[in-house]
């Protein structure tokens, strides 16, 4: 028997050979991994998977849409639907959180978030309007620690400003990047401010800008300008603006129409506030095709890269070509997000295609911004109307009945396996148990890790996964039994059956995994959540069969109970109807068949 085994295994070196010679180690490995994962689960303090709204309820946020000033009819079906899909993608970033977003009535949007989500963050994501505009800078004033403008701006503007490699990059296929060189020199900012305002606003007298600004960035109203009619208000706003005051920042940006000049605040890289007078928006968030948070190779800092759409590229190259002709600071454009200046790079050449936003980002803030940018600007602004808890959409009793029904079904599976496979069912059930524990623990751990939430369809998918997992054992067992039927003893049977079973399992699981991967990448929302579950269970199936079922089978094949084909082992050659090989061979080549090619189909 041993010889046979070697003969069979001889041409096969490597992994499976190792596995079959040291099944104990592999088993120990997966058991240790299991214990470690379970320990991790208990340590993390999350003992159950996060459940979706249908199973556990959650929080419901009602938002009321408001038109942007100047757009009276903005609250319409189309815009609401766009807003829904944008919010959906924001709260469902990774697709596994099982949040629901829908319209209610004509101007409300309900966002349902499962229990255990970071509610504060979700509310923020939901409410963030993310109006993104690119506006030319007309004036910039730094909130300086010293009254002298010259003192501050060197520190103030260093990172925010742009040009640098813009020239080179602009040449390569319109994929130029606006990135940073420190721009307005302290002196230029101070002097040019006045000029800028004068020119652009056609306001005669220039204000004495922030030269008198206090250390906290508070401008002194004393520097009152004598503005012209139309721009008087703006000018006044600008000089009076105190960027360190949150309320003031909010007020100054409220109700500004994109086609008007605006006043805005922004933090520079040193974390100090600066204020800007900005021209009309030239490019807006809808022109952004996608945005991505990356690390700038040169500076090592987190930045956000944007690619523009076709028309966005055109607009962007127009504004940059115009700006590149101007004097500082009017060669800057400000990236204005929800009224705040995120970054104000300067431009030295025409750019198009893509842009880079640099600023004082960390990984989180860069990703948040990229998220907001790539999922687009909400066409409307929203006001949070109510936040309330909701119970599970699926009634408790139904869930209860479902659980009982599922348990009965599982019990039937166990009975069936025991009756059919007898001793072998021990291996099947142990493998299913391992698979179940791993699935449960991993889903639980993924809850806090990536916001994975389990909803009812996912639970049902997991139940079907039982079938797919069990199928792997069944394929393997049937192969072993086939070998035994051919007259082999158990151990060589196991080793011969495994490579074939393995191929079947891998080929078929690959199809499942392909489905999961494609759906996860391409789709959004609940389909994505489903794809995740499917992929997870498929991978676990392979892991369990390779690292648990096979080694366990190898070990048990050495036990007398199985090896001798005990009637209850499920491997009794007689019961399997094994044919003695010798007889059959003889007859097969015997005269009864006549001139037969011994190599049959």
């Amino acid at each position: 028997m041993e010889r046979e085994n070697e003969k069979v295994a001889a041409p096969k070196k490597g992994r499976s050979h190792g596995a079959q010679s040291r099944p104990g180690r592999v088993l120990a490995f997966i058991l240790i991994a299991m214990v470690a994962l379970t320990g991790g689960m208990f340590l993390s303090g999350h003992k159950t998977p996060r459940l979706g709204i249908d199973l556990a309820g959650g929080t419901s946020i009602t938002l009321k849409a408001k038109s942007e000033p100047g757009q009276k009819n903005a609250v319409n079906q189309t815009n609401m639907n766009t807003a829904v899909s944008i919010i959906e993608r924001r709260v469902n970033g990774l697709g596994v959180t099982e949040s629901e977003v829908q319209t209610q009535g004509s101007d409300n949007i309900i966002v349902n978030i499962p229990k255990g989500t970071n509610e504060a963050q979700a509310r923020q994501q939901v409410g963030t309007t993310a109006q993104l505009y690119f506006r030319p800078v007309i004036t910039v004033a730094a909130g300086q620690p010293t009254p002298k403008p010259s003192a501050s701006s060197s520190s103030g503007t260093g990172k925010d400003k742009a040009t640098g490699n813009a020239t080179d990059k602009a040449t390569d296929g319109g994929k130029g990047k606006a990135s940073a060189t420190p721009t307005p020199t302290p002196t230029s900012s101070a002097t040019s401010q006045g000029r800028a305002v004068t020119d652009a606003l056609k306001a005669g007298p220039s204000p004495t800008p922030s030269a008198t600004a206090s250390a906290s960035g508070k401008p002194t109203p004393a520097a009152s300008p004598t503005p012209d009619a139309a721009t008087a208000a703006l000018q006044k706003k600008f000089t009076e603006l105190d960027c360190t005051d949150k309320a003031a920042r909010t007020t100054v940006t409220a109700g500004v129409r994109p086609q008007d000049n605006a006043v805005a605040c922004g933090k520079n890289s040193a974390g100090q506030w600066e204020k800007y007078v900005l021209g009309p928006a030239e490019v807006n968030g809808k022109d952004v095709d996608k945005a991505q948070a990356t690390i700038n190779q040169q500076t090592g800092a987190w930045v956000v890269n944007m690619d523009f759409t076709g028309s966005g590229s055109k607009k962007f190259s127009k504004i940059t070509s115009k700006l590149s002709q101007q004097q500082p600071p009017m060669n800057q454009f400000a990236i204005v997000l929800d009224g705040d200046v995120v970054s104000a790079p300067s431009v030295s050449s025409t750019l198009s295609g893509s842009a880079e936003i640099s600023g004082s980002f960390n990984q989180q803030s860069a990703q948040d911004l990229a998220n907001v940018l790539s999922y687009g600007a909400l066409p409307l602004s929203f006001q949070e109307q109510s936040v309330t808890t909701v119970t599970a959409a699926l009634g408790g009793e139904q869930l209860h009945a479902g659980l009982i029904a599922g348990a009965i079904g599982l019990l039937l599976v166990v009975i069936y396996l025991v009756v059919y496979y007898r001793g072998l069912s021990l291996i099947a059930l142990a493998s299913l148990l391992v698979s179940a524990i791993l699935t449960y623990v991993i889903m639980t751990l993924l809850g806090p890790a990536i916001g994975f939430a389990l909803n009812l369809p996912a639970v049902c998918g997991a139940i079907v996964a039982i079938g797919i997992t069990a199928d792997s054992f069944i394929v393997f067992f049937e192969r072993i039994r086939d070998e035994i039927r051919e007259g082999r003893s158990l151990r060589p049977s196991v080793e011969r059956a495994w490579p074939r079973a393995r191929r079947t399992i891998l080929v078929s699981d690959f199809v499942s995994f392909l489905a999961a991967a494609v759906l996860f990448i391409v789709t959004v929302g609940k389909v994505q959540g489903f794809a995740f579950t499917l992929g997870l269970t498929t991978v676990l199936d392979v892991v369990v069969v390779f690292l648990f079922t096979k080694p366990l089978m190898t070990i048990l094949a050495r036990k007398k109970f199985f090896a001798n084909g005990h009637p209850w082992s499920g491997l009794d050659p007689k019961r399997l109807g094994a044919k003695p090989p010798l007889r059959r061979t003889r007859r097969a080549t015997g005269p009864a068949v006549g001139p037969v090619d011994p190599k049959e189909a």
Binding site: N81, T391, I463, V518, K579, G594
Partner: protein
């Protein structure tokens, strides 16, 4: 089990078996009939899309002591549609009902007010939009199409194009039947249904691939022998994996059947029912189509291949000559008659030396030492 085990052995050896390929026309016919019924049902009755897709009405009640379950039943009675009831933090209920227009909504509101004993004026009625909007649906379709293209390419490489086509046909067959049954039964299509359909998509392909894997193995050196035609080998391959197919299907179907018949039966329509119905029908169809549709289809396509055609000719010619020569005519279906040794031989052989050349001969077309 003993009997089953023997049956398994006989199936493997081809002593017993059902002629899947020979009777394929019957099964094609049945499948076409079911598919046509499904399509007609779909065309005539259409799908009853749930609130997630079509939106509906939402009623918000003030604080009430009525339980969510009671409210669900009364709302269902009042509207005749699927209902989602959630209790709010304020103590009130949020009741969402699909397929409701403004006129109906007023009536439901009145009914609800009566049933839940809250003043009608305090129930806030509003229309809700779909939570599964156009964008999600569109992306899901894109995903499906991309997946199907990839899977056909994969199967064409891993197996061959004929099998890829057959698998795709079987897949479409399963999905059509499941969707058709939804139209006929009139269950509401919810997100759960869609997820169920996607699960089937994965399962149906999975099952087909397992069956094809065995088929591929058995027919590997088919042109090097002259005893069996492709169809016969394919048939034996199905019979050989029949035990596996039945076991797998039983194991996959039992829990779902539990959900559908036990869970759903007690509670009537609900989200559980939706999912388990689509899963049950789809899993059954998936197992059926792998055996009765996909493999015969491969055999049909294969028999058009010149090489396989030539093989068929050779096999038939040989049989004809054998029939002319003498009585040792082996009918194709019972082609393994020779293996059916008498029981006394068995007993003798168990005692006899276990001689390995047998196993070499036992190649059965499988690449015995070859593993990939």
């Amino acid at each position: 089990m003993s009997k089953l085990g023997h049956l398994g052995a006989r199936l493997i050896r081809g002593e017993v078996g059902y002629d899947f390929i020979g009777k394929r026309k019957i099964w094609y016919g049945i499948s076409i009939l079911i598919t046509i019924t499904a399509i007609v049902g779909l065309a005539v009755r259409g799908l009853n899309m749930g609130i997630e897709f079509e939106g509906g009405a939402v009623f918000t009640t003030p604080k009430t002591s009525v339980s969510a379950g009671t409210a669900e039943r009364s709302a269902q009675a009042a509207s005749g549609h699927a209902v989602i009831v959630q209790k709010l933090g304020t103590g009130g209920l949020r009741i969402q009902i699909s397929g409701v227009d403004t006129a109906k909504s007023d009536q439901i509101k009145a009914d609800l007010a009566k049933d839940l004993s809250v003043p009608e004026a305090k129930i806030n009625a509003d229309l809700v939009g779909p939570s599964w909007g156009q964008t999600i649906a569109k992306k899901a379709w894109t995903g499906l199409i991309v997946f199907m293209i990839l899977v056909v390419i994969y199967l064409a490489i891993a197996f061959e194009w004929r099998m890829a086509i057959a698998a795709l046909v079987a897949l479409i067959h399963d999905i059509t039947i499941t969707v058709g049954i939804y139209a006929l039964v009139g269950f509401e299509v919810t997100v759960g249904t869609v997820i169920g359909l996607l699960t089937i998509l994965g399962y149906s392909l999975y099952d087909t691939v397992v069956v094809f894997d065995s088929l591929k193995e058995q027919t590997k050196d088919i042109t090097k022998q002259t005893r069996f035609t492709y169809s016969e080998v394919a048939n034996r391959s199905i019979n050989g994996t029949l035990v596996r197919s039945i076991n797998t299907t039983v194991v996959a179907l039992l829990p779902v059947a539990g959900l559908l018949f036990i869970g759903g039966g007690f509670l009537g329509a609900g989200m559980l029912n939706d999912i388990s119905l689509s899963l049950f029908v789809g899993l059954a169809a998936g197992a059926y189509s792998s055996i009765f549709i996909a493999t015969p289809l491969v055999a049909d396509l294969k028999e058009r291949d010149p090489q396989i055609k030539a093989l068929r000719k050779r096999v038939l010619a040989k049989r004809a000559s054998a029939a002319a020569d003498g009585p040792s005519d082996a009918a194709p279906a019972a082609g393994d008659d020779y293996e059916d040794g008498d029981p006394s031989d068995d007993a003798a052989a168990v005692v006899g030396p276990r001689h390995q050349p047998a196993s070499r001969n036992r190649g059965r077309g499988r690449p015995s030492g070859k593993r990939r």
